[in-house]
Symmetry: C2
Subunit: 418 residues, 2 copies
């Protein structure tokens, strides 16, 4: 494996996401206004695909595009009848994100294949590199688009007709990166995704490698509280129907209840009120309407269900006050995904043989791997995120950890493809 | 007094604030998207001044503009050495506001003068109608601009250099409605402002006339809480620095403490968190920064001070958690204004003689009258706001109440100008 080549590709790929095209090689070069803006379907997105496809071709891979815009690069194995080992991730970024979230898993898989090729390592299974389209959901209405369609969770039609912020359909935004090839997951035996952790566990606890055993289930609730917009100076306290006062109660409730659940689940449970929009949000007007977005995650479905019920009950309680109306909608409801014991143990063995400190853990973030997990034997490899930061221009993974992650990935792919 | 003429002028003036120019004569004709958009300095603002000045000239008033853009219309009295009785209000509106807030006090004063003229009523003092520029603060950075400059609270320079949302200076936005005349408040004996209540007291309790004894003091606090923006899925509950959780605590604290103070002050005290802006406000991101706008009002300065200290202390408490930074700024700090006993009693007597049910009350809203109150003998006359609604396209005052208000105003002006 060639760390210099891997690094060069990752830095170059990063530059294809920054407005000024700068090559960022170290944490010290990061700045608040120089993150990646490689939204799916953008010009920079096309440039990143151009670069990757060129590199896959240089590695003599067979490059194919499917109907939703996923990109595949295949190295054949000795036995044409065996199912493939697939590895990959995504190339799109959030707004003002970092250069490793996604590309690490794509370029990492490419480097693994290049290494296998250079070593002349013989394997019977084909190895398929995958780039999933529209993972982040920052441009189009939802994320994980490519893997959702590939795994049959949403239809091709639904995927193609997703609309971005500019009103453009996904099918019209892919600049030629769509094809007729349709990969059948029945032809895939294993899937492995290398990714930064996007959380603080590895960085804080000093592990180089995280082996993902499951990806947490996720529910999103959208709560709307309607009271009565009124003049803050002339409406006596007793006559108010303040929507924000109820919203504040709900934020506190979600936080306290989540802390309680976290203690019961050894820290796996999390819930967050991330979004709050008050209307009209003017200092001298009593807020008449507040919308809240609540994110609930755990590895156990029953915990998520219990929590949602508690939130629902609290919100319904507000509605019993005359003049207060409430709504509580379920926007996303994804059950937890379990990884394959076989793949987990293969990764654990690879880390052990490379003498790297690894820990088994859950992924709190969503990944394309969760869609694959229901269909093929899947696991993920995490590497540390500096300070646990992600979806931010300050996202970084040290080169030493990048190196370790790709070495574990390469060894595990070899083992699975043997 | 001619109700039909008054009504015609008010409805016409209203039409000069609506984008479609429609004449709205009844509550039933109101609609959510047909409020007034007569921001100071806009074309509709100029049209409203053109109309008023024409009407003042028709009434043979001497029209003058001062250097900040206040407009005056003078009817001389018998004694040229006597100080004037002034009455007026503003013509500008909030965004999507109603047609009575401001114009009622201007057209009402005009109608009073027209009536006095037609009746041939003899008075020794001059009567001066005033239109104060930029009362609402919806276009420029602050409100009450005309009366602030007139009373010397801010300099002419400061006033003229206020900037609106489009980056235009006030001095460049007045379309010729600025002059060289500078009115000296030492030449004014009394000031009376007729205005809709903008609150629910008169409407709920069945009074036609409110006599304002004082205008509450007002403080605005801007609180910023900074925590740590992070991934909602991958950051364990224990490792969070959630700015919104602290903000929610503050909203609850402000509300509960304000309720307590309201009980102690027979309902006069109010405090509101009207503004809340969370960053980045995305469901799957722990809010890293929340800004809150708090509005605090009472007729007693010491209550406002006590409350501000309590808020400050609470906010400082958040900052004692490592990773949480806070800021608490005082943006506005206006002491309560007391009205003149003499003018209050004159209004009370007028209402009594007209057999109208009147109640003495506080104004929770800010008015140009509060700036005058420190310099000349001042009071305000309130008429009911339907459902207590204000700063809204649903703002309305019944014509019967408009009539009563203007009759009381006319009678009080006669008495004071006699």
């Amino acid at each position: 494996m060639a760390l210099e080549r891997l690094k060069r590709d990752l830095v170059k790929m990063g530059s294809l996401g920054r407005h000024n095209g700068s090559m960022v090689e170290s944490y010290e070069e990061l700045s608040v206004d120089n993150g990646l803006w490689r939204l799916e379907g953008s010009e920079l997105s096309k440039a990143s695909k151009d670069y990757l496809v060129q590199k896959m071709k240089e590695a003599e891979l067979k490059v194919r595009y499917d109907s939703i815009g996923n990109i595949f690069g295949r190295k054949e194995g000795a036995d044409p009848f065996k199912k493939a080992v697939m590895s990959g991730s995504h190339l799109d970024s959030v707004k003002n994100g970092g250069q490793f979230d996604g590309p690490l898993g794509v370029i990492g898989a490419l480097e693994a294949v290049r290494t296998i090729k250079e070593e002349g390592f013989e394997h019977s299974r084909p190895i398929e590199i995958a780039v999933f389209v529209g993972e982040e959901g920052s441009a189009f209405e939802r994320g994980l688009v490519g893997s959702e369609v590939l795994s049959g969770n949403i239809s091709l039609e639904q995927g193609l007709n997703l609309v971005n912020n500019e009103g453009e359909l996904l099918k019209n935004a892919l600049s030629g990166y769509r094809g007729n090839f349709n990969l059948d997951l029945a032809d895939i035996e294993y899937f492995l995704e290398l990714h930064p952790e996007q959380g603080p566990v590895l960085d804080t606890e000093g592990f180089s490698i995280g082996i993902v055993e499951n990806i947490t289930g996720l529910s999103w609730l959208r709560v709307v509280i309607e009271g009565e917009e009124n003049h803050a100076g002339t409406t006596p306290m007793k006559m108010r129907k303040d929507a924000l006062v109820r919203a504040a109660d709900l934020v506190t409730f979600v936080h306290e209840k989540a802390q309680e659940m976290a203690e019961k689940t050894a820290g796996s449970f999390v819930a967050t009120v991330g979004k709050i929009e008050a209307h009209p949000s003017a200092t001298n007007i009593i807020p008449g309407r507040v919308e809240l977005g609540i994110d609930i995650r755990d590895t156990r479905l029953d915990n998520i269900e219990t929590f949602k019920e508690a939130v629902n009950e609290r919100v319904e309680g507000f509605g019993r006050t005359p003049g207060i109306k409430t709504k509580c909608e379920l926007l996303i409801n994804k059950p937890p995904s379990l990884c394959s014991k076989e793949v987990i143990e293969t990764v654990a063995k690879a880390a052990r043989e490379l003498d790297l400190a690894a820990i088994k853990m859950s992924s709190g973030a969503a990944h394309d791997a969760q869609n694959l997990a229901g269909k093929v034997k899947t696991a993920m490899i995490f590497v540390p995120s500096v300070n646990g930061i992600s979806h931010s221009p300050w996202e970084w993974t040290d080169w030493d950890d990048v190196d370790k992650g790709v070495r574990v990935l390469t060894r595990a792919i070899k083992e699975l493809a043997r």
